[in-house]
Assembly symmetry: C2
Homo-oligomer: 817 residues x 2
């Protein structure tokens, strides 16, 4: 198979031709198209080297420039497809392209992130500051202004890229701009007045973080939360309705009992039933009436059965259902978006001479923009992996697999080449290591290690149980510790030498073993040298027991799913933290310094805040109700308090404490926070449910198929192909790329092979699983999509005149690059 | 369509013929079969009328007897199919049949239920009895013995029916027998010693209830719970594992803090982390260490995130997944079981002369045994509904729909006959009622009523809010109450007269409106005549607001699903109560009388049990910790206490109170109870989730199809058919059946119709929904099933020699009937 090395002209499709892009190049079209391109390149040619217009060299050069433009635009399309950026923000001219390129790189992203974080972290040092981090008003206001100026710069770059009209239409950016304005004004006011006023708007600062490129997952979560809201609110209303009915009933039934403080007014009745919804005041709220008439428990049992056990679960069911539905629709729209992106890119990569596919040269050009870090060998292997028909061109149908293939990591296959790291060693060493390798891979060895871990676990438990209090960090290192650590150390050595360090560390479980053993060793050192602060490492010992969970398949499944879920879980956690931040700011503005020891003596929860030393007989008794610690005095304390509110138990003590010190409207804050966390938590539960049920359905559907080890693809490359690729690079003067390719050829020579097998690997993502689960439906979606596309092509995908803009971009952008 | 009225001989299939039951009758087979039957009838003929053997009349008579036997056995098969009784308990001879018939009727079921309830209720009067219901040991022990003797009688009847071998094989019955024996011995011991010993075995009494025919749903729930256990236990172990690890960590980290009572020993550390799992001691358990070092909150946050927010949800996910899977498999096996039952019944109903289907005469004979209460008209309509080919015979394929059709309630269609109840009234009255009818059905009227209800609701809220405490049951009836009640009364009258009472009350919502209005009226009477005990009715007023929820489609959906779920929910509740009962008995045996005011002064929860009058200044302050009320002093108290433990909040106060008065092993009781309720509750949540998600998927799948009003079937009957049916009944001398049929003909004559349309209606069940959801899979199941059947037919469905037993039953049972 030869690699095409001609300098084709890029095929620029007109709107009319777009529907049938595999048709033969149209002469008319060529003539119509070429001047357009030439004029573009003409300008630059004039600028730079001013040769005679129209001569062969300048034409070839202009074609090459056109190609470069096409490569870049295709790469941008593919990036937009990958990041789920809408195509209406696609850069439309050279200025926009420059801004686009400026905005879309990791340095800029990092700047965005750091400014956002800086703004958020400022609340550590502002007015009710963490004591150690308090800064003067001058300093933190200046810092804030600085960060805001950076944000202004970022936004102006964005506007340059999008154009004013698109910028205005982009809702998120508009909200950000408004918040920015408010923050700016307030920061200046603070600087001028030299004192912080009630700045609740600081709660909006998290918008800067949410808008960061790296927080895409958070944005998706927020969208999902907002989409789940309507059904959630419906059921919530039902919940509140029953609450009101029961509050009225409860008021009528129990307010005649004067020793019952929970139902003496309708407001109390409502508040206490709201708290009862969370079970937080449960037996207590019932007790006064229960002690009077035992049958009054029926009221509470019925209320809890309806509200807690029925409607709350209904809430979960509704959210879970909406969630699964949204997940599927999201997957569908992402899939179709990627497909459209690939179509756009494909049209830009097809040449006039070869309209039926993309040659390697074009592909290589694309990849230079799309993944600059990828080495030439990998580019070629990706191309080969895409190319299922084994011709020199990749058709559109093959190109649709772009996103699945481009993530593969390629490695020379071990089967044909070397199996173990020690294959090259002398005979004796080889035999020794081979023996270790076999030993380490044997079941007996594994089970022996499991036994050791189990014995160690029981040992630790017994040992801990024996030393009730007292000095449990002995002066001497206990011998059991040394023995077990030695065993683990030997195991680590055997495994590393038997498998080779790279293979050893490539397994997550081995990595875990390694780090635990390392920690245990550090713990030993800490013990041996009496380093107090490192004692905590000793405490991690029991974690080794986790290794035992490798034994059962269900646990492996659960843990695997857990690792798969981890990024998504982290983003959900971050979303929750963002809510926390907003609430923490509001809480600090209103409630900072409100609770303190012995503060709430007028409330029903005074005990929890009491802090007294008194003498009973001749003993000093410290009565310590610690709840004054759950305050909003600084942002860290607020976060802990909010976490306690999230856990819900005894949250009403915190609420009542604050309420008794402020006004009873404060309860609104706590109730709203409860409802918000309820939404987020329900979503988290629904997410975990959905993910696991999905995974288990997947496992059930694919029962009997081989163990799931990620996606693996095999490709063989012959020597001639390699030589062809090198030749191509040589003509393009990319010397740095050639060296590694020549190394591959040298390797082939060494092992006297005419070809070499490469393995492409990547871990399986949720998207892959979904692909397999919805296999049948996906075909329907595609068909529906392409039908719709035929209708809307002319209006939607290329809005009127876009073709002109697109070529305009190619024209003018050359002045920049 | 003429009804066949011949006295066919029943077709008794041999094993060889069973696979192809639609083949023409085999002469050989007839000759082989008839003697067998004749010998059976011969006996009875000899017994009763002793005519000459073999003459025509006796032969015809014997054929009729054979038919009766077949009808009865077919009806038994169909009942077994409906109740999911296994076929291996099918009665095998005349004695067994008699016992079967004795055991399978509502009188016997009722006896079973009453004895079981009696046994359960005894615990109200035994040793730690409810004060008002205390009985002497003589009395309750005698009552118990009596109930146990009844159970012995029931079991002996069962053994007679099943036969000794099957009885031994039937696990549930064997367990019941063993429990019975133990109970018997213990009851006698109590009578002899005249004092109750520690009788924990009383906890097993609920087995008698579970075994009742009416508690089939509870048995299914229990089975489902046990089936969900293995994955549940796996995840529970993971949960406990992390708990142990964190307990060790917590002990090492916090036991050096002497003001921290939660982590001072490893046992405390374990117990408190177990309680923390339920969040019940949350901020408190953290507070001592948090006050020392704020960063210690990380330990608790990590623990709760892993255990509560991750693994607990994992538990739900795993149970939910298992649950959905089990539901589907259960549906499949029930479906196939019913199908097999129908096949069995069909084979018994097909006659030798007409092997290709069941004639109405046979069907009528079957229905006489299967549904004795059904009237002749309905039987014929059911037959017509089954008969989709419109011939005189129902084929096996049609007969498969038996269970779907037999539940239909038939009514003459309103379309052809009378539309409104007032159609027969004189012209003026007709016009008035017609006007009311149109008014009542109009949207404007509905919305006007909604507005009234809303205004009433707000009125009640404001009114309640205004009378803060004081005498809120005024001497005079408030005018607003009268006004609203009048409006509701007028609405009720209008609706009843406009729709007719029957149509009015056939809607659940109208029924609800009616009862609420009735209650409000009773409340008015209570107010007017100052009847104190009826005041609670006034309190139900706000429930009228529920009518507002008719407005939105989602609520209607939710409430409909709720009503559909209700039976299942009730059975789940009963299952939970059965667990409660067992735990209550154990709790009473060990902890009755253990807690009392001021009992637990040595424990950390002493405050909750404190009950003191003390004087501060010149005021008497009653410090009342009501927790001593949460005790196990009698079974009612125990139930309330267990409910409080189920709600989980502050359950550790109850646990610690009891523990401080007994030994620390008592904690095991509470922890086990927590885990058991966790299992049951998770199942309940999974059930609600599954049901709603299923329902919503169903709605989504059937979007656009007509509103769901249950299953409706139309059948038309002509006059001639009716006459034929009457003729058939006349020949069978069933005079009582003829009268209503003749009435139908008279009606047709009156309206001068040659035919009459009937509508069969029933509400849609979960099974119908499942049928539609799994449509495609069901076909696969059937195919797989019939394939398997062909293989296993000879061994399984008719175990060796069963054919002989089956005919033996026909032989000997005639001596009984």
């Amino acid at each position: 198979m030869a690699v095409s090395m001609d300098d084709d002209d890029p095929l620029i499709l007109t709107l009319d031709e777009s529907g049938s892009n595999t048709s033969a190049p149209d002469e008319e079209l060529d003539r119509e198209d070429l001047p357009n391109e030439n004029r573009g390149s003409y300008d630059i040619v004039n600028d730079v080297s001013s040769p005679a217009t129209g001569d062969y060299h300048s034409q070839q050069r202009s074609a090459r420039h056109n190609w470069e433009m096409n490569y870049q635009e295709a790469a941008i399309y593919l990036q937009e497809g990958e990041n789920n950026d809408k195509f209406f923000t696609h850069p439309k001219n050279a200025k926009a392209l420059a801004a686009y390129l400026f905005v879309h790189n990791h340095l800029f992203y990092l700047m965005e992130l750091i400014t956002a974080l800086l703004l958020l972290l400022l609340s550590l040092c502002e007015a009710p500051a963490v004591p150690m981090l308090r800064l003067g008003i001058y300093i933190h206001a200046t810092l804030e202004l600085f960060a805001l100026v950076v944000v202004v710069f970022e936004l102006s770059m964005k506007m340059r890229w999008m154009g004013f009209y698109t910028y205005i239409r982009h809702k998120r950016t508009m909200v950000k701009t408004c918040v920015l304005l408010v923050q700016f004004v307030e920061a200046i006011v603070v600087l001028v007045r030299q004192t912080s006023h009630v700045r609740i708007t600081r709660a909006l600062r998290c918008i800067f973080l949410v808008d960061c490129r790296y927080c895409g997952a958070v944005r998706r979560n927020l969208r999902q939360i907002f989409q789940s809201l309507p059904p959630f609110i419906d059921i919530l209303l039902l919940l509140l309705f029953f609450m009101v009915i029961f509050a009225i009933l409860g008021f009528y039934l129990f307010s005649s009992n004067h020793s019952d403080p929970y139902f003496n007014t309708l407001e109390n009745s409502l508040v206490n039933l709201f708290v009862l919804l969370t079970t937080s005041n449960f037996p207590d709220v019932m007790m006064p009436s229960y002690s009077r008439n035992p049958w009054s428990c029926v009221f509470f049992i019925v209320y809890l059965s309806i509200e807690l056990y029925f409607i709350m679960n209904l809430l979960l069911a509704v959210v879970f259902d909406t969630f699964s539905d949204i997940e599927k629709r999201k997957f569908k729209s992402l899939l179709l978006h990627k497909r459209t992106a690939i179509q756009h890119a494909y049209r830009l990569l097809v040449s006039k001479q070869r309209p039926s596919g993309i040659s390697f040269k074009q592909f290589e050009g694309l990849m230079r923009f799309y993944k600059p870090r990828m080495c030439a060998r990998e580019r070629y292997l990706t191309f080969k992996a895409l190319n299922q028909s084994n011709t020199t061109l990749v058709s559109l149908k093959d190109f649709y697999n772009f996103y699945e293939v481009v993530g593969l990591k390629w490695k020379a296959s071990a089967k044909r080449n070397r199996e173990h790291w020690f294959d090259d060693l002398p005979r004796t060493a080889f035999l020794i290591f081979k023996g270790i390798n076999i030993l380490v891979k044997s079941r007996a060895f594994q089970y022996a290690m499991y036994t050791v871990v189990a014995v160690n676990g029981i040992w630790i438990l017994i040992q801990t149980f024996m030393l009730q209090g007292g000095n449990f960090f002995p002066r001497d290192v206990p011998w059991s510790y040394i023995i077990f650590l030695t065993i683990y150390g030997v195991e680590l050595l055997l495994k590393t030498s038997g498998l080779g360090p790279i293979e050893y560390l490539s397994s997550g479980w081995n990595l875990f073993d390694f780090s635990v053993t390392l920690f245990a060793f550090l713990g030993l050192l800490a013990l041996a040298f009496n380093m107090e602060p490192f004692y905590f490492i000793v405490v991690l010992r029991p974690l080794q027991l986790l290794r035992l969970f490798k034994l059962k398949k269900r646990y492996r499944n659960v843990l695997d799913t857990m690792f798969e879920l981890f990024p998504r879980m982290a983003s959900l956690g971050l979303t929750l933290l963002i809510f926390y931040y907003s609430f923490a700011i509001v809480g600090m503005e209103f409630f900072s310094g409100v609770v303190y020891p012995n503060c709430c003596n007028t409330s029903t929860v005074a005990d929890a805040y009491r802090w007294v030393n008194h003498t009973v007989g001749n003993k000093t008794v410290v009565e310590e109700g610690y709840y004054y610690l759950n305050n909003f005095d600084n942002i860290l304390n607020s976060f802990v308090t909010l976490f306690e509110l999230t856990v819900v138990n005894d949250w009403y003590i915190i609420m009542e404490g604050v309420t008794s010190q402020t006004s009873h409207w404060s309860r609104l804050y706590f109730m709203i926070f409860y409802i918000v966390t309820m939404v987020v938590m329900t979503i988290i539960v629904a997410f975990i449910l959905e993910a696991f049920v999905f995974r288990m359905n997947y496992t059930r559907k694919n029962q009997g198929s081989e163990e799931d080890n990620g996606i693996v693809l095999e490709k063989e490359i012959s020597k001639e192909e390699m030589a062809g690729v090198i030749e191509l690079y040589r003509r393009n003067c990319a010397a740095s790329e050639i060296a590694p390719l020549q190394k591959v050829i040298a390797q082939m020579d060494k092992y006297e092979q005419t070809s070499m097998l490469f393995l492409g690997r990547r871990s399986r993502t949720k998207s892959d699983l979904s692909m397999k689960m919805y296999e049948e439906e996906i075909q329907e979606w595609y068909e529906e999509h392409s039908r719709k596309e035929e209708y809307q092509w002319q209006e939607d995908v290329f809005p009127s005149g876009n073709r002109m803009l697109s070529s305009g971009l190619r024209q003018r952008s050359q002045t920049v690059i």
